[in-house]
Symmetry: C2
Subunit: 220 residues, 2 copies
DNA sequence: TGTACATCAGTGAACGCGCGTTCACTGATGTAC
DNA sequence: TGTACATCAGTGAACGCGCGTTCACTGATGTAC
C-alpha cells in the first residue's frame, strides 16, 4: 500500500496545489465577468473592481492573473471559441437529426445558446462594438469556426460540387446568421412562445434560403 | 419696404431663436457622442461629462436635453434609422447600376458607410451588445428598413413570385448581412487594398447567394 | 414702440462615490538539503 | 523525515481622479401690455 505523500484535504473548496488554486481564481475572474455581462451590459462598461468583487478577491489580486481588462477580454474570446468548437464536436458526434434536418439543428442550436447564455451574450455583444482588439479576436474565432464547419460539410458530402473557397464563403454567411440569431434568442422575453416560434421559423427559413442558394451555386 | 422686426445677427454661430439654439446644442450633444464612439469604444462606456465636454457645455446642462444617457442613445438610434432610410431613398432616386448590379450596389453601400462611419459604428456596435432598450430600438429600425426594402423590391418587380412574408424574410437576411459587413468595412486597415477587395468580393458573393436562393424559393 | 416681467438654456461650485493602480505585507505552499 | 528558506497568491490601506447629480444663479430671449 503506497504511502500518501500529501495529506488529503477535507474541504474541496480550498484543495489543490498552488498552481491549481491560482488557475481556479483565474476562472473565477472569467466567470465573474460573464455573470456581470449577463446583466445586460457591455464588456467595456465593466470595472476591474466590480469583477474582483464578484469573484471574491481583492482588486489588487487581479494583476496576478491579467495585465488589464483587455487581457481578460481576450480570455473570454478564447472561451467563446472553445464553446463554438464544442458545438461542432457535439454535432459531429450526434449527427444531424434525420428528418427536418434544418429545423432540428436550429432547435439544438437554440438550446445550446440558452444553456451557455453568458458566453453567447459576450460574443454577440462584443462582435460589433467593444474594443478593436477584442473585435478582431472574435472575427478570427468566427472564421476558424466557419472553416471547421466547411470541412465538416465536405466530409459529410453535402454540396459536393462546390470549391473550398465557395464552401468557406457560405459557411461564413451561416456563422454570422447564427450569431445574429443568438442575440435574438437571448433577448426573447420569457413565456412569449408565439414570438419564440416566429423567431425559430424565421431562422430556419433564412438557413433554408442560404442552402437553397448553395445548391444552385456555380463556381466562377 | 418692411421694417426688420429683429436686428440681423453678425455671427452665424450664435444666431437663431431660443428654440433654434437649444436644438443646435442638442445636436452638438449627439454629434459629440458619435465622435467619442468613433474612437472605438462602446456607447455604455461613454460618460455624461465626456460628452458635454466634447459638446462644449457644462455637465449640468445635459439635463436640459435628455433625462439620462439612455435617452441620448435612443436619439442616436433614431438618427441611425434616418440614415438607413436615406440610403434607400438615394437608391430609389438613382436606380441600381445597370451592369453588375450587385457589385455596384455593394460599392455604393461601402462608400455610404464610410462617409457616415460614426453612425454605422454606433448601430453595428450596439446592435448586439449595449443596453437592452437600445438593442430593441435598433431591432425595430432594422425591421422597418427591411420592410421598406421589401416594398421597393416588389415595386421594381424583382422576385415577383414571392409572397410578402418571404420577401420580408429575405430582406431581413440581407439587412443583417449588410450590417455585419458595415462593421467589417469600418475595421478595414487603411491602404490594405488587398483585404479591401477580398471583403467586397466576399460581401458580393454572399448577397449573390442569397438572391440565388430567393430566385429558387417556393412559398410553402 | 417702450417697459416691466417671465422664461429657461447654460453656469459654476459642491457633494459623496467608485474607480485603477501602487505598495509593503502576510502566511500558506513549495523546494533544497 | 525534518528543517530552513524561497516563492508568490492574495491582503488591506492609501492615492489622486473623474464620475453623476443637485442647486442657486445669471442673463439673454420672449411676451404681455
Amino acid at each position: 500500500m503506497p504511502v500518501t505523500k500529501r495529506a488529503p484535504r477535507v474541504e474541496g473548496e480550498a484543495a489543490g496545489t498552488r498552481g491549481e488554486r491560482k488557475e481556479r481564481t483565474r476562472l473565477h475572474l472569467i466567470e465573474a465577468a460573464l455573470v456581470l455581462l449577463g446583466q445586460g451590459r457591455g464588456f467595456t462598461s465593466l470595472s476591474l473592481r466590480e469583477i474582483t468583487r464578484e469573484a471574491g478577491i481583492v482588486p489588487a489580486a487581479f494583476y496576478r492573473h491579467f495585465r488589464d481588462l483587455d487581457e481578460l477580454g481576450l480570455a473570454l474570446v478564447e472561451m467563446g471559441g472553445v464553446t463554438l468548437r464544442r458545438l461542432l464536436r457535439e454535432a459531429r458526434r450526434d449527427g444531424v437529426p434525420p428528418t427536418d434536418m434544418l429545423r432540428g439543428s436550429v432547435l439544438i442550436y437554440k438550446r445550446f445558446v440558452e444553456e451557455r447564455s453568458l458566453v453567447f451574450r459576450f460574443i454577440a455583444g462584443e462582435r460589433g462594438g467593444g474594443s478593436r482588439v477584442i473585435r478582431e479576436a472574435i472575427r478570427t474565432e468566427e472564421s476558424h469556426f466557419a472553416s471547421e464547419m466547411a470541412q465538416d460539410l465536405r466530409a459529410l458530402g453535402t454540396l459536393p460540387d462546390l470549391s473550398s473557397a465557395s464552401l468557406q464563403m457560405i459557411c461564413g454567411l451561416v456563422v454570422t446568421t447564427m450569431l445574429n440569431a443568438a442575440s435574438d434568442i437571448l433577448d426573447l422575453p420569457q413565456g412569449r412562445s408565439r414570438q419564440e416560434t416566429e423567431l425559430v421559423e424565421n431562422f430556419v427559413r433564412q438557413l433554408r434560403l442560404i442552402f437553397l442558394g448553395a445548391r444552385h451555386w456555380r463556381d466562377d
